[in-house]
Protein backbone atom coordinates (compact mmCIF):
# COMPACT_ATOMS: atom_id res chain seq x y z
CA UNK A 1 0.00 0.00 0.00
CA UNK A 2 3.01 2.31 0.03
CA UNK A 3 2.11 3.43 -3.47
CA UNK A 4 -1.28 4.62 -2.28
CA UNK A 5 -0.13 6.02 1.03
CA UNK A 6 2.74 8.33 0.22
CA UNK A 7 5.08 9.45 2.89
CA UNK A 8 4.05 12.68 4.55
CA UNK A 9 7.65 13.80 4.92
CA UNK A 10 7.65 16.06 1.90
CA UNK A 11 4.76 18.47 2.09
CA UNK A 12 3.49 21.05 -0.36
CA UNK A 13 1.07 23.82 0.38
CA UNK A 14 -2.05 24.17 -1.75
CA UNK A 15 -4.24 27.23 -1.56
CA UNK A 16 -8.00 26.92 -1.27
CA UNK A 17 -8.29 28.09 -4.88
CA UNK A 18 -5.78 25.53 -6.08
CA UNK A 19 -7.68 22.72 -4.39
CA UNK A 20 -10.96 23.97 -5.84
CA UNK A 21 -9.47 23.96 -9.32
CA UNK A 22 -7.83 20.58 -9.09
CA UNK A 23 -10.47 18.79 -7.05
CA UNK A 24 -13.81 20.59 -7.31
CA UNK A 25 -15.49 17.73 -5.46
CA UNK A 26 -13.11 17.52 -2.49
CA UNK A 27 -13.83 17.96 1.14
CA UNK A 28 -11.15 18.67 3.73
CA UNK A 29 -12.02 17.66 7.28
CA UNK A 30 -10.09 18.20 10.51
CA UNK A 31 -9.08 15.26 12.73
CA UNK A 32 -12.46 15.46 14.47
CA UNK A 33 -14.34 15.16 11.17
CA UNK A 34 -15.38 18.83 10.98
CA UNK A 35 -15.28 20.32 7.49
CA UNK A 36 -12.55 22.88 6.98
CA UNK A 37 -13.17 23.42 3.29
CA UNK A 38 -15.26 21.91 0.51
CA UNK A 39 -14.89 22.21 -3.25
CA UNK A 40 -17.47 24.25 -5.19
CA UNK A 41 -19.02 21.31 -7.04
CA UNK A 42 -19.38 19.23 -3.90
CA UNK A 43 -20.90 22.23 -2.11
CA UNK A 44 -23.42 22.56 -4.94
CA UNK A 45 -24.26 18.86 -4.79
CA UNK A 46 -24.63 18.72 -1.00
CA UNK A 47 -27.46 21.29 -1.07
CA UNK A 48 -26.74 22.60 2.42
CA UNK A 49 -25.19 25.95 1.58
CA UNK A 50 -21.70 26.61 2.94
CA UNK A 51 -20.36 23.37 4.35
CA UNK A 52 -17.57 24.90 6.41
CA UNK A 53 -17.81 23.93 10.07
CA UNK A 54 -20.32 21.14 9.56
CA UNK A 55 -19.63 17.56 10.52
CA UNK A 56 -18.49 15.56 7.49
CA UNK A 57 -20.81 12.77 8.61
CA UNK A 58 -23.80 15.08 8.28
CA UNK A 59 -22.93 15.68 4.65
CA UNK A 60 -21.83 12.28 3.43
CA UNK A 61 -22.65 8.77 4.46
CA UNK A 62 -19.87 6.24 3.91
CA UNK A 63 -21.26 2.82 2.94
CA UNK A 64 -18.37 0.86 1.49
CA UNK A 65 -16.26 -0.97 2.39
CA UNK A 66 -18.35 -0.58 5.56
CA UNK A 67 -20.50 2.02 7.24
CA UNK A 68 -18.31 4.48 9.07
CA UNK A 69 -19.37 7.19 11.44
CA UNK A 70 -16.29 8.54 13.12
CA UNK A 71 -13.25 10.41 11.89
CA UNK A 72 -10.70 7.80 13.05
CA UNK A 73 -12.58 5.00 11.32
CA UNK A 74 -12.82 7.07 8.16
CA UNK A 75 -9.12 7.95 8.27
CA UNK A 76 -8.40 4.24 8.34
CA UNK A 77 -9.89 3.95 4.84
CA UNK A 78 -7.08 6.04 3.34
CA UNK A 79 -6.06 4.76 -0.07
CA UNK A 80 -9.09 2.48 -0.52
CA UNK A 81 -12.01 2.85 -2.87
CA UNK A 82 -14.80 4.30 -0.79
CA UNK A 83 -18.48 3.99 -1.66
CA UNK A 84 -20.58 6.81 -0.28
CA UNK A 85 -23.68 8.92 -0.80
CA UNK A 86 -24.62 12.47 0.04
CA UNK A 87 -27.15 12.56 2.86
CA UNK A 88 -29.44 14.73 0.74
CA UNK A 89 -29.23 12.33 -2.24
CA UNK A 90 -28.97 8.86 -0.71
CA UNK A 91 -30.10 7.15 -3.93
CA UNK A 92 -27.07 8.24 -5.99
CA UNK A 93 -24.02 6.13 -5.20
CA UNK A 94 -20.78 8.10 -5.41
CA UNK A 95 -17.17 7.13 -5.22
CA UNK A 96 -14.40 8.54 -3.07
CA UNK A 97 -10.72 8.37 -2.21
CA UNK A 98 -9.20 9.61 1.01
CA UNK A 99 -5.72 10.82 1.91
CA UNK A 100 -4.44 11.79 5.36
CA UNK A 101 -2.88 15.21 5.83
CA UNK A 102 0.21 15.93 7.92
CA UNK A 103 0.11 16.25 11.66
CA UNK A 104 -3.17 17.48 12.93
CA UNK A 105 -4.42 18.81 9.56
CA UNK A 106 -6.97 15.99 9.17
CA UNK A 107 -7.79 14.41 5.81
CA UNK A 108 -8.94 15.13 2.31
CA UNK A 109 -11.77 13.14 0.74
CA UNK A 110 -12.15 13.51 -3.03
CA UNK A 111 -15.42 12.41 -4.59
CA UNK A 112 -16.47 11.44 -8.09
CA UNK A 113 -19.84 10.59 -9.61
CA UNK A 114 -18.96 7.00 -10.43
CA UNK A 115 -21.44 5.10 -12.55
CA UNK A 116 -24.43 7.18 -11.52
CA UNK A 117 -22.91 10.11 -13.42
CA UNK A 118 -25.81 10.65 -15.84
CA UNK A 119 -28.47 10.82 -13.14
CA UNK A 120 -26.19 12.74 -10.83
CA UNK A 121 -25.43 15.44 -13.38
CA UNK A 122 -29.15 15.85 -14.04
CA UNK A 123 -30.22 15.85 -10.40
CA UNK A 124 -27.46 18.11 -9.14
CA UNK A 125 -27.85 20.43 -12.12
CA UNK A 126 -24.14 20.30 -12.90
CA UNK A 127 -22.55 22.17 -15.82
CA UNK A 128 -19.33 21.83 -17.78
CA UNK A 129 -17.75 24.34 -15.40
CA UNK A 130 -18.40 22.08 -12.43
CA UNK A 131 -15.89 19.52 -13.68
CA UNK A 132 -12.13 19.66 -13.82
CA UNK A 133 -10.91 19.42 -17.42
CA UNK A 134 -9.11 16.29 -16.26
CA UNK A 135 -12.36 14.64 -15.24
CA UNK A 136 -13.72 12.44 -18.06
CA UNK A 137 -17.26 12.51 -16.70
CA UNK A 138 -18.25 15.02 -19.35
CA UNK A 139 -16.87 12.77 -22.08
CA UNK A 140 -18.81 9.87 -20.59
CA UNK A 141 -21.96 11.95 -20.76
CA UNK A 142 -21.15 12.90 -24.34
CA UNK A 143 -20.72 9.26 -25.23
CA UNK A 144 -23.90 8.36 -23.39
CA UNK A 145 -25.90 10.81 -25.49
CA UNK A 146 -24.12 9.97 -28.73
CA UNK A 147 -24.84 6.27 -28.16
CA UNK A 148 -28.50 6.95 -27.58
CA UNK A 149 -28.67 8.84 -30.88
CA UNK A 150 -26.82 6.29 -32.96
CA UNK A 151 -28.77 3.42 -31.39
CA UNK A 152 -31.96 5.17 -32.43
CA UNK A 153 -30.59 5.47 -35.97
CA UNK A 154 -29.65 1.80 -36.08
CA UNK A 155 -33.06 0.79 -34.83
CA UNK A 156 -34.59 3.03 -37.47
CA UNK A 157 -32.54 1.32 -40.16
CA UNK A 158 -33.46 -2.15 -38.92
CA UNK A 159 -37.14 -1.26 -38.91
CA UNK A 160 -36.90 0.14 -42.42
CA UNK A 161 -35.09 -2.94 -43.68
CA UNK A 162 -37.69 -5.19 -42.11
CA UNK A 163 -40.48 -3.22 -43.73
CA UNK A 164 -38.68 -3.31 -47.08
CA UNK A 165 -38.20 -7.06 -46.76
CA UNK A 166 -41.86 -7.59 -45.94
CA UNK A 167 -42.86 -5.43 -48.91
CA UNK A 168 -40.51 -7.33 -51.20
CA UNK A 169 -41.88 -10.67 -50.01
CA UNK A 170 -45.46 -9.55 -50.53
CA UNK A 171 -44.59 -8.52 -54.08
CA UNK A 172 -42.43 -11.49 -54.89
CA UNK A 173 -43.27 -13.46 -58.02
CA UNK A 174 -40.87 -16.34 -57.54
CA UNK A 175 -41.01 -19.42 -55.38
CA UNK A 176 -37.65 -19.33 -53.59
CA UNK A 177 -37.26 -23.11 -53.31
CA UNK A 178 -37.83 -24.16 -56.91
CA UNK A 179 -37.12 -20.91 -58.72
CA UNK A 180 -40.45 -21.32 -60.53
CA UNK A 181 -43.13 -18.64 -60.53
CA UNK A 182 -45.35 -18.45 -57.43
CA UNK A 183 -49.11 -18.39 -57.11
CA UNK A 184 -49.37 -14.62 -57.51
CA UNK A 185 -47.30 -14.64 -60.70
CA UNK A 186 -49.26 -17.62 -62.07
CA UNK A 187 -52.66 -16.07 -61.43
CA UNK A 188 -51.51 -12.93 -63.23
CA UNK A 189 -50.14 -14.99 -66.09
CA UNK A 190 -53.35 -16.98 -66.57
CA UNK A 191 -55.49 -13.85 -66.28
CA UNK A 192 -53.34 -12.14 -68.93
CA UNK A 193 -53.61 -15.17 -71.23
CA UNK A 194 -57.39 -15.29 -70.79
CA UNK A 195 -57.64 -11.57 -71.51
CA UNK A 196 -55.82 -11.99 -74.83
CA UNK A 197 -58.29 -13.47 -77.35
CA UNK A 198 -55.46 -14.52 -79.66
CA UNK A 199 -53.85 -16.73 -77.02
CA UNK A 200 -54.92 -20.32 -76.64
CA UNK A 201 -53.28 -22.55 -74.08
CA UNK A 202 -53.48 -25.70 -72.09
CA UNK A 203 -53.35 -25.66 -68.29
CA UNK A 204 -51.97 -28.47 -66.12
CA UNK A 205 -52.56 -28.74 -62.41
CA UNK A 206 -49.94 -31.10 -61.00
CA UNK A 207 -50.19 -32.59 -57.53
CA UNK A 208 -47.36 -34.78 -56.29
CA UNK A 209 -48.28 -38.24 -55.09
CA UNK A 210 -46.44 -39.85 -52.18
CA UNK A 211 -44.79 -36.55 -51.32
CA UNK A 212 -46.06 -36.73 -47.76
CA UNK A 213 -44.39 -40.13 -47.34
CA UNK A 214 -41.04 -38.70 -48.42
CA UNK A 215 -41.43 -35.72 -46.10
CA UNK A 216 -42.54 -37.83 -43.14
CA UNK A 217 -40.16 -40.70 -43.80
CA UNK A 218 -36.93 -38.88 -44.69
CA UNK A 219 -37.51 -35.39 -43.36
CA UNK A 220 -38.19 -31.95 -44.74
CA UNK A 221 -34.78 -31.67 -46.35
CA UNK A 222 -35.61 -34.73 -48.47
CA UNK A 223 -38.98 -33.19 -49.27
CA UNK A 224 -37.26 -30.00 -50.36
CA UNK A 225 -34.83 -31.95 -52.54
CA UNK A 226 -37.76 -33.63 -54.26
CA UNK A 227 -39.52 -30.31 -54.83
CA UNK A 228 -36.34 -28.78 -56.26
CA UNK A 229 -36.03 -31.75 -58.55
CA UNK A 230 -39.62 -31.33 -59.77
CA UNK A 231 -38.85 -27.64 -60.37
CA UNK A 232 -35.86 -28.68 -62.48
CA UNK A 233 -37.93 -31.21 -64.42
CA UNK A 234 -40.54 -28.57 -65.24
CA UNK A 235 -37.93 -26.01 -66.26
CA UNK A 236 -36.12 -28.41 -68.54
CA UNK A 237 -39.11 -30.11 -70.14
CA UNK A 238 -41.13 -27.05 -70.95
CA UNK A 239 -40.62 -24.65 -73.82
CA UNK A 240 -39.46 -21.08 -73.41
CA UNK A 241 -42.99 -19.68 -73.72
CA UNK A 242 -44.56 -22.08 -71.22
CA UNK A 243 -44.90 -21.01 -67.60
CA UNK A 244 -44.60 -23.23 -64.54
CA UNK A 245 -45.40 -22.23 -60.99
CA UNK A 246 -45.33 -23.83 -57.58
CA UNK A 247 -48.68 -22.83 -56.15
CA UNK A 248 -48.83 -24.87 -52.96
CA UNK A 249 -46.73 -27.22 -50.84
CA UNK A 250 -46.60 -29.93 -53.51
CA UNK A 251 -48.83 -28.42 -56.19
CA UNK A 252 -47.79 -26.93 -59.50
CA UNK A 253 -49.53 -25.20 -62.37
CA UNK A 254 -48.24 -25.17 -65.92
CA UNK A 255 -49.41 -23.06 -68.85
CA UNK A 256 -48.66 -24.66 -72.21
CA UNK A 257 -48.84 -22.04 -74.91
CA UNK A 258 -50.76 -23.06 -78.07
CA UNK A 259 -50.98 -26.61 -76.79
CA UNK A 260 -54.71 -27.38 -76.77
CA UNK A 261 -55.27 -30.74 -78.44
CA UNK A 262 -56.07 -33.51 -75.95
CA UNK A 263 -53.48 -35.83 -77.50
CA UNK A 264 -50.73 -33.21 -77.21
CA UNK A 265 -51.70 -32.24 -73.68
CA UNK A 266 -51.93 -35.88 -72.70
CA UNK A 267 -48.49 -36.59 -74.15
CA UNK A 268 -46.92 -33.72 -72.19
CA UNK A 269 -48.66 -34.84 -68.98
CA UNK A 270 -47.48 -38.41 -69.47
CA UNK A 271 -43.90 -37.34 -70.07
CA UNK A 272 -43.94 -35.07 -67.05
CA UNK A 273 -45.24 -37.85 -64.82
CA UNK A 274 -42.59 -40.23 -66.12
CA UNK A 275 -39.83 -37.72 -65.36
CA UNK A 276 -41.22 -36.90 -61.94
CA UNK A 277 -41.32 -40.61 -61.14
CA UNK A 278 -37.58 -40.97 -61.69
CA UNK A 279 -36.21 -41.64 -58.22
CA UNK A 280 -34.32 -38.88 -56.40
CA UNK A 281 -31.45 -39.90 -54.20
CA UNK A 282 -31.08 -37.88 -51.05
CA UNK A 283 -28.51 -38.65 -48.33
CA UNK A 284 -28.56 -42.36 -49.00
CA UNK A 285 -32.32 -42.60 -49.39
CA UNK A 286 -34.05 -43.15 -52.69
CA UNK A 287 -37.13 -40.99 -52.77
CA UNK A 288 -39.83 -42.08 -55.18
CA UNK A 289 -42.83 -39.95 -55.93
CA UNK A 290 -45.35 -39.68 -58.69
CA UNK A 291 -47.79 -37.05 -59.84
CA UNK A 292 -51.43 -36.66 -60.76
CA UNK A 293 -52.34 -34.04 -63.31
CA UNK A 294 -55.60 -32.31 -64.13
CA UNK A 295 -55.75 -30.84 -67.61
CA UNK A 296 -57.85 -28.11 -69.22
CA UNK A 297 -57.52 -26.11 -72.40
CA UNK A 298 -58.70 -22.59 -73.09
CA UNK A 299 -60.52 -24.00 -76.09
CA UNK A 300 -62.72 -26.26 -73.92
CA UNK A 301 -65.14 -23.36 -73.54
CA UNK A 302 -67.61 -21.69 -75.87
CA UNK A 303 -66.84 -18.38 -74.16
CA UNK A 304 -63.62 -17.34 -72.41
CA UNK A 305 -63.93 -18.63 -68.85
CA UNK A 306 -62.91 -16.58 -65.82
CA UNK A 307 -59.73 -17.38 -63.93
CA UNK A 308 -61.63 -18.98 -61.04
CA UNK A 309 -63.72 -21.15 -63.34
CA UNK A 310 -60.67 -22.36 -65.25
CA UNK A 311 -58.78 -23.16 -62.05
CA UNK A 312 -61.80 -24.95 -60.58
CA UNK A 313 -62.17 -27.10 -63.68
CA UNK A 314 -58.47 -27.95 -63.71
CA UNK A 315 -58.72 -28.82 -60.05
CA UNK A 316 -61.76 -31.04 -60.73
CA UNK A 317 -59.81 -32.86 -63.45
CA UNK A 318 -56.93 -33.33 -61.02
CA UNK A 319 -59.36 -34.79 -58.52
CA UNK A 320 -60.62 -37.17 -61.19
CA UNK A 321 -57.05 -38.29 -61.89
CA UNK A 322 -56.47 -38.87 -58.18
CA UNK A 323 -59.71 -40.73 -57.87
CA UNK A 324 -58.74 -42.91 -60.81
CA UNK A 325 -55.66 -44.10 -58.99
CA UNK A 326 -53.05 -41.31 -59.14
CA UNK A 327 -49.88 -41.33 -61.19
CA UNK A 328 -51.96 -40.32 -64.20
CA UNK A 329 -53.67 -37.38 -65.81
CA UNK A 330 -57.32 -36.57 -66.49
CA UNK A 331 -58.87 -34.16 -68.96
CA UNK A 332 -61.48 -31.63 -67.95
CA UNK A 333 -64.81 -32.55 -69.55
CA UNK A 334 -63.71 -36.03 -70.55
CA UNK A 335 -66.33 -38.64 -69.65
CA UNK A 336 -65.30 -40.54 -66.54
CA UNK A 337 -65.36 -43.71 -68.60
CA UNK A 338 -62.19 -42.53 -70.34
CA UNK A 339 -60.27 -43.15 -67.19
CA UNK A 340 -59.47 -46.62 -66.04
CA UNK A 341 -61.37 -46.87 -62.76
CA UNK A 342 -59.76 -47.96 -59.55
CA UNK A 343 -61.27 -47.95 -56.12
CA UNK A 344 -60.08 -45.13 -53.88
CA UNK A 345 -58.67 -47.51 -51.32
CA UNK A 346 -56.62 -49.38 -53.91
CA UNK A 347 -53.09 -49.70 -52.69
CA UNK A 348 -50.76 -47.12 -54.18
CA UNK A 349 -47.76 -48.24 -56.19
CA UNK A 350 -45.01 -49.13 -53.76
CA UNK A 351 -43.57 -45.89 -52.38
CA UNK A 352 -40.10 -44.76 -51.63
CA UNK A 353 -38.09 -47.89 -51.33
CA UNK A 354 -34.86 -47.50 -49.32
CA UNK A 355 -31.66 -47.62 -51.30
CA UNK A 356 -30.31 -51.11 -51.15
CA UNK A 357 -33.75 -52.61 -50.54
Amino acid sequence: MTGLLPSLDRVIGLSEGALDTLLPMHVWADPAGRIVQAGPTLTKMARMGDLTGRSLFRVVEVRRPARVDGAPALAALAGQRIGLVLTRAPHLPLRGALAPLPAGAGMILDISLGLSFARAVAEFGLTLNDFSPCDQTVELLYLHEANASTTALSRHLTRRLEAARAAALSQALTDPLTGLANRRAMDAEIAAALADPTREFGLLHIDLDLFKQVNDGFGHAAGDAVLERVGAVLRHMLRQDDVAARVGGDEFLVILRDCIEPEDLGAVATRLIASIEEPVEFEGHVCRISASIGVTASTDYAERPGLDRLLADTDAALYAAKRAGRGRHAMHGAPDGDLPRRRLDDPMPRPAARAGD
Binding site: V121, G125, L128, Y142, E145, A146, S149, T150, L153, L157
Partner: protein, 195 residues
Protein backbone atom coordinates in the same frame (compact mmCIF):
# COMPACT_ATOMS: atom_id res chain seq x y z
CA UNK B 1 -18.95 8.90 -47.81
CA UNK B 2 -20.68 7.91 -44.59
CA UNK B 3 -24.47 7.76 -44.78
CA UNK B 4 -24.66 10.27 -41.93
CA UNK B 5 -23.11 12.95 -44.18
CA UNK B 6 -25.36 12.08 -47.11
CA UNK B 7 -28.36 11.97 -44.86
CA UNK B 8 -27.44 15.44 -43.59
CA UNK B 9 -27.35 16.77 -47.15
CA UNK B 10 -30.74 15.24 -47.86
CA UNK B 11 -32.16 16.43 -44.53
CA UNK B 12 -30.92 19.96 -45.17
CA UNK B 13 -32.52 20.05 -48.62
CA UNK B 14 -35.86 18.58 -47.57
CA UNK B 15 -36.33 20.62 -44.39
CA UNK B 16 -35.13 23.86 -45.98
CA UNK B 17 -36.54 23.58 -49.51
CA UNK B 18 -39.10 20.78 -49.40
CA UNK B 19 -39.54 17.32 -50.84
CA UNK B 20 -40.05 18.55 -54.41
CA UNK B 21 -36.57 20.09 -54.49
CA UNK B 22 -35.07 16.91 -53.08
CA UNK B 23 -36.90 14.88 -55.72
CA UNK B 24 -35.49 17.13 -58.44
CA UNK B 25 -31.97 16.90 -57.00
CA UNK B 26 -32.27 13.15 -56.76
CA UNK B 27 -33.38 12.85 -60.33
CA UNK B 28 -30.67 15.17 -61.68
CA UNK B 29 -28.03 13.34 -59.68
CA UNK B 30 -29.34 10.00 -60.93
CA UNK B 31 -29.68 8.68 -57.39
CA UNK B 32 -30.91 5.09 -57.70
CA UNK B 33 -32.99 5.18 -54.48
CA UNK B 34 -35.34 7.54 -52.66
CA UNK B 35 -33.49 8.17 -49.39
CA UNK B 36 -29.99 8.03 -48.00
CA UNK B 37 -29.72 5.83 -44.94
CA UNK B 38 -27.66 7.26 -42.08
CA UNK B 39 -26.08 3.96 -41.10
CA UNK B 40 -24.89 2.87 -44.55
CA UNK B 41 -21.97 3.95 -46.73
CA UNK B 42 -22.18 5.46 -50.20
CA UNK B 43 -19.64 6.20 -52.94
CA UNK B 44 -18.25 9.76 -52.75
CA UNK B 45 -19.34 10.29 -56.35
CA UNK B 46 -23.00 10.02 -55.28
CA UNK B 47 -22.50 12.65 -52.59
CA UNK B 48 -20.82 14.99 -55.05
CA UNK B 49 -23.48 14.39 -57.71
CA UNK B 50 -26.23 15.26 -55.23
CA UNK B 51 -24.43 18.35 -54.04
CA UNK B 52 -23.78 19.62 -57.55
CA UNK B 53 -27.37 18.93 -58.52
CA UNK B 54 -28.52 20.88 -55.46
CA UNK B 55 -26.40 23.91 -56.46
CA UNK B 56 -27.88 23.71 -59.91
CA UNK B 57 -31.49 23.28 -58.83
CA UNK B 58 -31.26 26.08 -56.24
CA UNK B 59 -29.06 28.46 -58.30
CA UNK B 60 -26.69 28.66 -55.35
CA UNK B 61 -22.95 29.14 -55.24
CA UNK B 62 -21.41 25.97 -53.75
CA UNK B 63 -19.83 27.89 -50.88
CA UNK B 64 -23.12 29.56 -49.99
CA UNK B 65 -24.90 26.23 -49.97
CA UNK B 66 -22.16 24.60 -47.88
CA UNK B 67 -22.29 27.43 -45.37
CA UNK B 68 -26.07 27.05 -45.09
CA UNK B 69 -25.61 23.34 -44.45
CA UNK B 70 -23.13 24.09 -41.66
CA UNK B 71 -25.57 26.50 -40.03
CA UNK B 72 -28.45 24.09 -40.41
CA UNK B 73 -26.50 21.34 -38.63
CA UNK B 74 -26.46 23.47 -35.48
CA UNK B 75 -29.77 25.27 -35.68
CA UNK B 76 -32.31 22.78 -37.00
CA UNK B 77 -34.68 21.67 -34.25
CA UNK B 78 -34.50 18.04 -35.35
CA UNK B 79 -30.75 18.08 -34.89
CA UNK B 80 -30.88 19.23 -31.27
CA UNK B 81 -28.98 16.05 -30.24
CA UNK B 82 -26.11 17.12 -32.52
CA UNK B 83 -26.10 20.67 -31.13
CA UNK B 84 -25.94 19.19 -27.66
CA UNK B 85 -23.02 16.96 -28.60
CA UNK B 86 -21.19 20.02 -29.94
CA UNK B 87 -21.82 21.96 -26.74
CA UNK B 88 -20.04 19.23 -24.80
CA UNK B 89 -16.83 20.59 -26.32
CA UNK B 90 -16.57 23.44 -23.87
CA UNK B 91 -18.39 25.87 -21.60
CA UNK B 92 -17.67 28.93 -23.78
CA UNK B 93 -17.27 29.69 -27.46
CA UNK B 94 -13.58 30.29 -26.86
CA UNK B 95 -13.25 26.83 -25.30
CA UNK B 96 -15.22 25.46 -28.20
CA UNK B 97 -12.89 27.06 -30.74
CA UNK B 98 -9.81 25.83 -28.93
CA UNK B 99 -11.17 22.30 -28.77
CA UNK B 100 -11.96 22.12 -32.50
CA UNK B 101 -8.83 20.03 -32.97
CA UNK B 102 -10.52 17.35 -30.88
CA UNK B 103 -13.56 17.33 -33.12
CA UNK B 104 -12.31 14.37 -35.16
CA UNK B 105 -11.88 12.21 -32.06
CA UNK B 106 -15.15 13.45 -30.67
CA UNK B 107 -16.99 12.55 -33.85
CA UNK B 108 -15.42 9.12 -33.96
CA UNK B 109 -16.37 8.51 -30.32
CA UNK B 110 -19.97 8.89 -31.44
CA UNK B 111 -19.68 7.13 -34.81
CA UNK B 112 -16.43 5.19 -35.15
CA UNK B 113 -16.26 5.13 -38.95
CA UNK B 114 -17.39 8.70 -39.56
CA UNK B 115 -15.20 10.71 -41.96
CA UNK B 116 -14.31 13.66 -39.76
CA UNK B 117 -12.25 16.63 -40.93
CA UNK B 118 -8.77 17.19 -39.55
CA UNK B 119 -8.68 20.62 -37.96
CA UNK B 120 -5.83 22.77 -36.71
CA UNK B 121 -6.39 25.95 -34.75
CA UNK B 122 -3.72 28.67 -34.48
CA UNK B 123 -4.24 31.62 -32.20
CA UNK B 124 -2.88 34.61 -34.10
CA UNK B 125 -3.57 37.11 -31.36
CA UNK B 126 -5.72 36.96 -28.21
CA UNK B 127 -8.92 37.31 -30.22
CA UNK B 128 -8.01 36.02 -33.69
CA UNK B 129 -7.79 32.47 -34.87
CA UNK B 130 -6.75 30.78 -38.03
CA UNK B 131 -8.43 27.45 -38.64
CA UNK B 132 -7.12 25.00 -41.19
CA UNK B 133 -9.25 22.02 -42.10
CA UNK B 134 -8.83 19.00 -44.34
CA UNK B 135 -11.51 16.59 -45.39
CA UNK B 136 -12.02 13.79 -47.90
CA UNK B 137 -14.26 16.08 -49.99
CA UNK B 138 -13.66 19.72 -50.88
CA UNK B 139 -15.73 22.38 -49.12
CA UNK B 140 -15.08 21.75 -45.46
CA UNK B 141 -14.15 25.39 -44.73
CA UNK B 142 -17.50 26.87 -45.77
CA UNK B 143 -19.36 24.12 -43.89
CA UNK B 144 -17.26 24.85 -40.83
CA UNK B 145 -17.86 28.58 -41.22
CA UNK B 146 -21.64 28.14 -41.21
CA UNK B 147 -21.35 25.78 -38.28
CA UNK B 148 -19.05 28.07 -36.26
CA UNK B 149 -21.20 31.10 -36.94
CA UNK B 150 -24.20 29.24 -35.58
CA UNK B 151 -22.22 27.95 -32.61
CA UNK B 152 -21.05 31.51 -31.78
CA UNK B 153 -24.68 32.49 -31.74
CA UNK B 154 -25.54 29.44 -29.66
CA UNK B 155 -22.97 30.43 -27.03
CA UNK B 156 -24.01 34.09 -27.20
CA UNK B 157 -20.62 35.16 -28.56
CA UNK B 158 -20.01 37.84 -31.16
CA UNK B 159 -17.54 36.70 -33.78
CA UNK B 160 -16.58 37.64 -37.32
CA UNK B 161 -15.73 34.77 -39.64
CA UNK B 162 -14.41 34.72 -43.16
CA UNK B 163 -13.01 32.18 -45.58
CA UNK B 164 -9.27 32.57 -45.77
CA UNK B 165 -8.34 30.71 -48.90
CA UNK B 166 -6.95 27.32 -49.63
CA UNK B 167 -3.46 26.42 -48.51
CA UNK B 168 -1.44 23.39 -49.38
CA UNK B 169 -3.06 20.64 -47.36
CA UNK B 170 -6.03 22.57 -46.09
CA UNK B 171 -8.83 25.04 -46.48
CA UNK B 172 -8.57 28.07 -44.20
CA UNK B 173 -10.91 30.09 -42.08
CA UNK B 174 -10.33 33.24 -40.06
CA UNK B 175 -12.23 33.85 -36.85
CA UNK B 176 -12.22 37.02 -34.83
CA UNK B 177 -13.87 36.79 -31.46
CA UNK B 178 -15.16 40.26 -30.57
CA UNK B 179 -17.22 39.56 -27.48
CA UNK B 180 -17.44 36.19 -25.76
CA UNK B 181 -20.54 37.18 -23.80
CA UNK B 182 -22.37 39.34 -26.28
CA UNK B 183 -25.80 37.82 -25.69
CA UNK B 184 -27.52 35.22 -23.60
CA UNK B 185 -27.14 32.46 -26.18
CA UNK B 186 -29.10 29.25 -26.06
CA UNK B 187 -29.26 27.16 -22.96
CA UNK B 188 -27.33 23.96 -22.57
CA UNK B 189 -28.39 21.78 -19.67
CA UNK B 190 -25.62 19.23 -19.30
CA UNK B 191 -27.75 16.73 -17.44
CA UNK B 192 -30.97 17.08 -19.37
CA UNK B 193 -32.55 13.66 -19.10
CA UNK B 194 -33.06 12.36 -22.60
CA UNK B 195 -36.46 11.31 -23.74
Amino acid sequence: MHGMINRALQGFLTTTYGDAVWAEVRSQAGLPFADFEAMLDYPDALTMACFQAACHVLYKHPNALLEDIGTWLVTDAHLEPLRRLMRFSGPSFLDFLLSLEEMGERGRLAVPDLDMPRIEVDRIDPSSFRIRAQWTLPGIAPILMGCLRAMADDYGALAVLRLDGVEAGGECLHVQLLDAAYSQGRSFDLGRVRA
